[in-house]
Amino acid sequence: MVGIVSFGAYVPFYRLSRDRIGSAWGKGGASTERTVAGADEDAITMAVGAGLDCLQGWVKEEIDCLYFASTTPPYALKQSASIISAACNLRGDINTADFGNSFRSGTNAIRSAIDAVKSGSYKKVLVTASECQIPPPDSEQEFILGDGAAAFLIGDSDVAVSIEGSYSISNEFMDFWRLPTDLYNQSWEDRFVLDMGYFRLLPQAVSGLMEKYQVSSKDFSKVVYNAPDPRSHRAIAKSLGFDVNKQVQNPLFDVVGNTGAASSMMILISALEGAKPGDRILFANYGDGADAFILQVNSQIEKSKQRKGISGYLISKMMLPSYGKYLHFRNLMKWDVDRRPTPRTSLPIYFRESKGLFRLIGQRCNRCGHEQFPRQRLCMWCQKRMQSPDEYEDVWLPKQKGHLFSYSMEQRASVIDLPNVNCVVDLEGGARFYGLMTDRDPEKLTIGMPMEFTFRKINDAQGVHNYFWKVRPVRE
């Protein structure tokens, strides 16, 4: 039976309180909060975070295919999945594809993954969904949206959650859209959009699923679905015939927000974190129609607990101190001209150093045994050749943790999230990483604190996102 083998999530470290959004505009807010992707994050980096969380404890060489779903891919032309695949250090001889243009793209990708595994084309498919939407300042959307990512490993062995049925409807209904030139989502009058869209189409898919498989709402321990906003999410539970208190999985609006294409998948992960063997879950995802699935949890669910998941990532957080910081993170104003040199990039350098820059693969010298990074032609310890496979071994560094050896905090650097924290981290394998620290509370840094890797953007230069790895204090 095809199903979910593993799952993982990514929730940004930064949160913005809705009271702070409200007070910026002289309006009421709420004591709840939404997630905000860091200035060095985007849908790709968050998908890498979720993908690696999902793959904890699994053999990455077994992945045959990677799908990425988002309405906010960092490039309109240039596949995100290929970058995510490299950063997750997957094999080169796999299929990668981007799904987009719809909040349903995440479950579109899951359905494709199910079909691919069923057909025997692939044994294991990694599906990632990630979203970093920019709401218009001083809008309802600004309160509702959030950033985050989810990942599922779909396969037909070691299945923890079998997918027992699915039903889809497609519909041309226009509720949310974004032109290629738009920064913000557009919509129609909300009564029309909700009544003729969400409240009409999601129930169609759910009832279609129930009819097809001859089940009713009573047959499910949990129901997971997305919604444009919290009120609609509550309202539809009743019309679908579910008990809001007992069956409906918390949609994470109070702590994350609506994460678009990743939303229903993040809610599902949250449900699976609390699921027991035997639980049956109805999982539905609305957008340009709707997908609905019957999920059956089995005992394999208790096997892997290595992931951080939604619950793990939610615990570690830092509140944005001001709305202004958020404006900086999303680059939402015309800023003072920076007289400093504009950042540059070099694609030939990325091409030559892909193994180091995207995959963060270091080396272990076969002669002296020292692990090291950046990659060398001659060992930095014993000065012997490290050019052929018998002279060194590749070492995938992102799985290693380390300890903070030294750090400094630049207040005048050309970066958005000041201070720019330079750091030296000694890794458990013996290599030393000299780079930048992200997702840190500048008040709480201490020498010796445990650190872990995270895939980020160093900057944007000449129209290119300069991706590389940073370290962060271990998020636990």
Binding site: R344, S406, A413, V464
Partner: protein, 395 residues
């Protein structure tokens, strides 16, 4: 290795003003420094047989020198070793003399830094890395050493910052008494400690100025020195060490960021050539690389002026002040005199030259009968340095 001791004499030196010289170009700075040096040595530009130009980023090729000075078809070499450029230019010029390829040569170090529109370094165009080069500034990289030094020697950030502040207070005190210095005002420990943070734990006054300037030297073999204007008034080079590290200390677990290995190697070589056994006792003054206060603190240890971890005691005792037993950066240092990258090495030699010959501009900053001085330049950043040490003295 025979060494360089007393084979080369410096018979004339000149410096441009140092500062934010909005009205002066690279050419103006070169003319200012070279004209003063020619006059000092009593030579004319047509007498120069070869020249070495030291600059980090103020132009390419030897023509940067030949054009403003109207030098006619002589060999000119552009030397670049980041902040160690100045000493390296003098070193290469010395070899030209010792080989007897030339008898009279010119060295000019220059940097025009204030045409850029921001306070900082541009970085060499054409050579860059989209990731490694983009991540940090010099201040951020040096600050890693300060954090580590505090940790290793058990200084709280407050204690550490206070020791560093005492270095900057000294530099400003000295610079305030130096007519050619860029930042000619005294500061207090509180000023330094309370200044805005540039790269924690380093604040504004822990960082050197961004300065325009040039310095020039006229060199000949020592046996010819008496044939020039000043007869007996010249100094000789006692030893030069240059060390370019492989640059991976920052990524190797055996480097602790609390000492400067390249400086130690360069100093060892220079001391050996000069026959110096106990630098603290034998040296009368030193101009050390203090682009940041922590750079001077650790340099005084790595140059062997005191034991590792013990600079604090000497700083508190005032050992490195004008009145101390080994004045360090009597000119005001890079901190106060300014740090035009390619010019600094030559400029520091000129400070020692003036002090040894009793020519400090104002009596209150003239040291009493100094005979032997040290110049230290250090390019790069902790774990990735190129360092030069030059010992000069009375013949």
């Amino acid at each position: 290795m025979e060494g360089i001791k007393d084979k080369v004499a410096i018979i004339g030196m000149g410096t441009s003003p140092f500062g934010e010289l909005w009205g002066k170009s690279v050419e103006d700075l070169i003319i200012d420094a070279a004209t003063e040096a020619f006059a000092d040595a009593g030579v004319e530009s047509k007498d120069i047989q070869a020249a070495w130009l030291g600059t980090f980023d103020s132009g390419y090729t030897g023509q940067i020198l030949s054009s403003p000075l109207q030098l006619q078809y002589i060999p000119i070499t552009r030397v670049e070793n980041v902040c160690a450029t100045g000493i390296d230019a003098i070193r290469n010029a010395s070899f030209g003399l010792i080989s007897k390829a030339y008898d009279l040569v010119l060295v000019v170090g220059v940097e025009k830094m204030k045409d850029l529109g921001f306070g900082g370094l541009y970085g060499a165009p054409g050579v860059f890395h989209p990731v490694y080069g983009a991540q940090a500034t010099a201040a951020g990289r040096y600050a890693l050493a300060a954090t580590r030094y505090f940790e290793r020697y058990g200084l709280s950030p407050e204690e550490g910052k206070k020791i560093l502040a005492m270095i900057s207070v000294k530099s400003h005190y000295n610079g305030a008494r130096n007519p050619k210095a860029h930042l000619r005002r005294e500061v207090t420990i509180d000023d330094v400690i309370n200044a805005p943070i540039i790269a924690w734990p380093l604040g504004l006054y822990d960082c050197c100025g961004i300065t325009d300037g040039a310095a020039a030297a006229i060199l000949c073999r020592t046996e010819d020195a008496k044939n020039f204007k000043h007869k007996g008034e010249y100094i000789t080079i006692k030893g030069i060490g240059l060390s370019v590290g492989p640059g991976w200390g920052k990524e190797k677990g055996d480097y602790d960021y609390t000492h400067w290995p390249e400086t130690e190697v360069a100093a060892k070589r220079a001391y050996q050539e000069a026959g110096i056994k106990d630098p603290r006792k034998e040296l009368d003054l030193a101009e050390v690389h203090d682009c940041f206060s922590i750079a001077e603190l650790i340099a005084t240890e790595s140059l062997g002026f005191c034991e590792h971890g013990k600079a604090k005691l000497d700083i508190e005792a005032g050992s490195f002040t004008l009145e101390g037993d080994l004045p360090v950066n009597p000119s005001g240092g890079l901190k106060s005199f300014g740090h035009p990258i390619g010019a600094s090495g030559c400029r520091e030699v000129s400070e020692i030259y003036n002090q040894l010959l009793g020519r400090a501009e104002l009596p209150q900053r003239q040291l009493k009968n100094p005979k032997l001085g040290l110049v230290h330049n250090q390019g790069g950043h902790p774990g990735r340095f190129m360092a030069g040490v030059c010992i000069v003295g009375l013949p």
